[in-house]
């Protein structure tokens, strides 16, 4: 194809779970869309994005295209297998086809900027077809929702925030936990025993709060990390460690 005869693609953050946390812009773009491209995968929970959309946007007249994106092998140079590369190129080709005939929106859980499939889709599409226009619409992050739900500020005044996957090694995690005011630990669900041990060693067990499925109807909040570690936590679990309790309490 010569020239660009494609409509724009919108990669739209739909927030952490509560449909009312979609933005007005997300609602407008989703309502106007002819096609919704929805990633499907095992544990990435991305079908949650479609459930959020469906709660407030009628989708009966829209085409829903579910695409399997193999995860976890895409990033960092040189680690992508031919099989994964091929799957992504096929996915991109499907999206490009839809973009040539209608308005396409790619809804993604939370905010595209944080650990979302959206930017991989973005890169893959532009690699195949550099002339297309892709617009990214920010969404409410799970961590902002955790902060709101637990009344735990992430940053005040001159404080420093760090967002870290809990899957990092203890030494690196300890260094971050020691040197920042607030630390958001992502992907904690399979490593809770390690995290509890680490927080205990650093004297931070009392400074942590865990939110599971933030913004979703079955959201749970734990202030006792040992109790949380005994639960079968969902993949969507986030810990906020905040050292300074609150402010201007005289």
């Amino acid at each position: 194809m010569s020239g660009n005869t494609h409509n724009d693609l919108y990669i739209v953050g739909v927030g952490p779970g509560d449909p009312e946390l979609m933005t007005v812009k997300a609602m407008r773009l989703l309502t106007d869309a002819d096609t919704l491209v929805v990633p499907k995968g095992r544990e990435n929970g991305e079908s949650t994005a479609l459930n959020i959309v469906k709660s407030l946007v009628p989708i009966e007249d829209k085409e829903i295209v579910e695409i399997y994106f193999p995860m976890h092998k895409i990033y960092k140079n040189g680690t992508t297998s031919d099989e994964v590369t091929l799957a992504w190129k096929q996915a991109a080709t499907t999206i490009l086809e839809k973009m040539s005939s209608g308005k396409v929106v790619f809804p993604t859980l939370g905010d595209p900027s944080l650990y979302s499939t959206g930017f991989y889709v973005h890169a893959t599409l532009l690699e195949i077809h550099p002339d297309i226009q892709i617009k990214i619409i920010p969404g409410i992050t799970a961590m902002a929702n955790c902060s709101a739900a637990t009344a735990t500020p992430l940053c005040l005044g001159g404080e420093l925030l760090s967002v870290v996957p809990a899957t990092f090694n203890d030494e690196r995690l300890a260094q971050v936990l020691e040197t920042f005011d607030t630390i958001v630990l992502m992907k904690v669900y399979r490593v809770m025993d390690r995290i509890v041990g680490l927080l205990e060693r650093l004297g931070l067990l009392g400074s942590a709060v865990l939110v599971e499925k933030s913004g979703q109807p079955d959201e749970r909040i734990f202030t006792d990390m040992r109790q949380a570690a005994r639960e079968d936590l969902h993949y969507f679990s986030t810990i906020i460690v905040r050292k300074e309790k609150m402010v201007n309490r005289q």
Copy 2:
């Protein structure tokens, strides 16, 4: 007053500037509100929050209460002067009065979790009246909008993100810049010369993008930090430093 005869207070993030980046929930609460409490201050730009609200929510029938909150002296134990404490208590008393007679919303720019006045208001009110209910509604952050506008992911895969006020000393900033994958530098507008020097020394000038007034009609994006440093930048300026350019580019 004995018992709690107050309505709930909602501290509502209204996003970085584009009114369409308000959430459906923010729109509902703002529309239902009898009173909007709006902080006013010199450079904190908080009246921007009311401008965002006004763009989409009719406010003619609402009471608008502008309150001056003295900033920058409230946090960290022991540094609050009597004058500041008194001003905050007066502000809190005014808000409590409004809460006893109607629905009160406190709109705040961006997201309450990140460097917002909202949490100080929260703490001050609960100190005076521990029985009231205060609900925090998350909003779109300026950094999420900067990420979207520049197609710069904040975190992919196993990456680490840090959010740091650029007013920190060079040594601390350098340490953060060296050890994280993505660094969001807040409050850069008065320290651009220092930041440019630091980024140059660390070989990161080419990895930085600056967004001024993200999401507002007069938003500007700079990829040349030296050029940005020559401009009279607005307070609402954020730099994203991302080391890894993109992913799965074979």
